[in-house]
């Protein structure tokens, strides 16, 4: 599984990244987690509000900060 956290470096994007890490820890699942900060890669997903979460190439949500529990539900 590959998880991408899209965001241009705002505070919320960093928190989302941390939440993803925690969600993986708590659920015991393993995945490759990448921060995507360059605009062209973000635009490729058609995302217009950050932070956004992409799991295996699919945009799960954009423009909000999901809680650890919410992310576990998406894994």
């Amino acid at each position: 599984m590959k998880i991408e956290v899209l965001g241009t470096g705002c505070a919320k994007c960093k928190t989302l990244y941390e939440n993803v890490k925690k969600a993986l820890e708590e659920s015991g699942k393993s995945a490759e987690v990448v921060k995507v900060e360059d605009i062209p890669s973000i635009m490729k997903y058609g995302v217009m509000s950050t932070p956004a979460l992409v799991i295996d190439g699919q945009v799960k949500f954009s423009g909000k900060l999901a809680s650890v529990a919410e992310i576990i539900g998406m894994l």
């Binding site: 965001g7 241009t8 705002c10 919320k12 605009i39 062209p40 973000i42 635009m43 490729k44 997903y45 058609g46 995302v47 217009m48 509000s49 950050t50 945009v59 949500f61 954009s62 423009g63 909000k64 900060l65 809680s67």
Partner: protein, 315 residues
């Protein structure tokens, strides 16, 4: 009810005498913070629920079919309900122009979205009354529409950074939230926003209360009154660096109004605080070349100054 609660705390519980500087300032502080936090928590929640129906992807789709005039009006109106944070200004801008939203229409959105925001409106409503809040919405929309039309007419597409036009933008689905998800989103959003702005509100109201209690009446009439032609431009220039602190700035400005600052000057100042900011300029310089960035700032600042003079003349 809030008023009698504040009276009870200050004059009965603490036992200060009504009419004293400290007593009046403290009374004002308690009354205003209570009122503002009540308004903030309810209205931000309602606005957040409305916003869940207008993700930027949908707004983009609506605007990509619109042309000049109608497009500018729609963009300014959608700017109110579409969630916007200056940190997403770049992907939003690229998404808009790539999907065929005209440049001028995109600017109407970019101007209205931060300017006509719920926090500024609630603070204006709570401290100046609904009439001033409505005037602020109306003129804010007008500034966004007119500035967008002018920028569109100037045909400045070549001053958009070149890479923007070459960008490959994927299409993403519009996620539809269930009612439960909307409520959860609105609750989290309200909590986060309040957590961020409460210190500004408390400090702002505190300074405002101090001014109310201690600064002599008409202290500012000479400098910031309607007879000083420089007051409006100076207020606009001062507003630019005070970005995003509408919550803290409005209580101070309200107190200054009571000491003689003219209302047109107040409106112009508020608009400059919300619409023009240095951090946003830095972010937008990723997608706009200098001439377009300068034009954008110049036209919006000019329009705001006109609004200031207008309301100083008629109110």
């Amino acid at each position: 009810m809030l008023k009698s609660f504040a009276d009870y705390i200050v004059f009965t519980l603490i036992g200060m005498a009504p009419g004293t500087h400290l007593g009046e300032a403290l009374n004002f502080f308690i009354y205003d913070t209570l009122k503002i936090f009540l308004l903030l928590s309810t209205i931000i929640f309602v606005v957040a629920i409305i916003r869940t129906s207008f993700p930027p992807e949908r707004t983009k789709r609506i605007l990509s079919h619109e042309r000049e005039y109608v497009g500018n009006v729609m963009a300014a109106l959608l700017g109110i309900v579409t969630p916007f944070c200056s940190c997403s200004a770049v992907p939003l801008f690229i998404g808009f122009v790539e999907s065929g939203v005209p440049l001028g229409v995109t600017f109407s959105f970019l101007i209205s979205s931060p300017m006509v925001n719920e926090v500024a409106l609630i603070m204006l409503w709570g401290l100046f009354g609904w009439k001033i809040a409505l005037i602020y919405i109306g003129t804010g929309l007008l500034v966004a529409i007119v500035a967008g039309i002018v920028i569109g007419r100037l045909k400045m597409e070549k001053y958009v950074q070149d890479y923007v036009w070459e960008m490959q933008v994927g299409s993403s689905e519009i996620t539809v939230m269930t009612f439960r998800e909307k409520i959860d989103y609105a609750r989290d959003y309200t909590r986060e926003l309040l957590k961020k702005i409460w210190p500004y509100v408390v400090v702002g109201v505190g300074i405002g209360a101090f001014i109310h209690g201690y600064v002599p009446q008409d202290f500012l009439a000479r400098w910031a009154g309607r007879d000083n032609p420089f007051a409006v431009p100076v207020a606009v220039a001062l507003g630019v660096p005070l970005y995003s602190n509408a919550a803290g700035v409005i209580p101070i400005v309200q107190a200054l109004t009571a000491k003689g600052m003219a209302i047109g000057t107040v409106l112009a100042f508020m608009m400059a605080v919300t619409a023009l900011s240095l951090p946003e300029a830095v972010i937008l310089s990723n997608v706009l070349k200098k001439p377009l960035l300068a034009t954008f700032f110049g036209i919006v600042a000019g329009a705001i100054v006109v609004v200031g003079y207008l309301f100083n003349a008629i109110l």
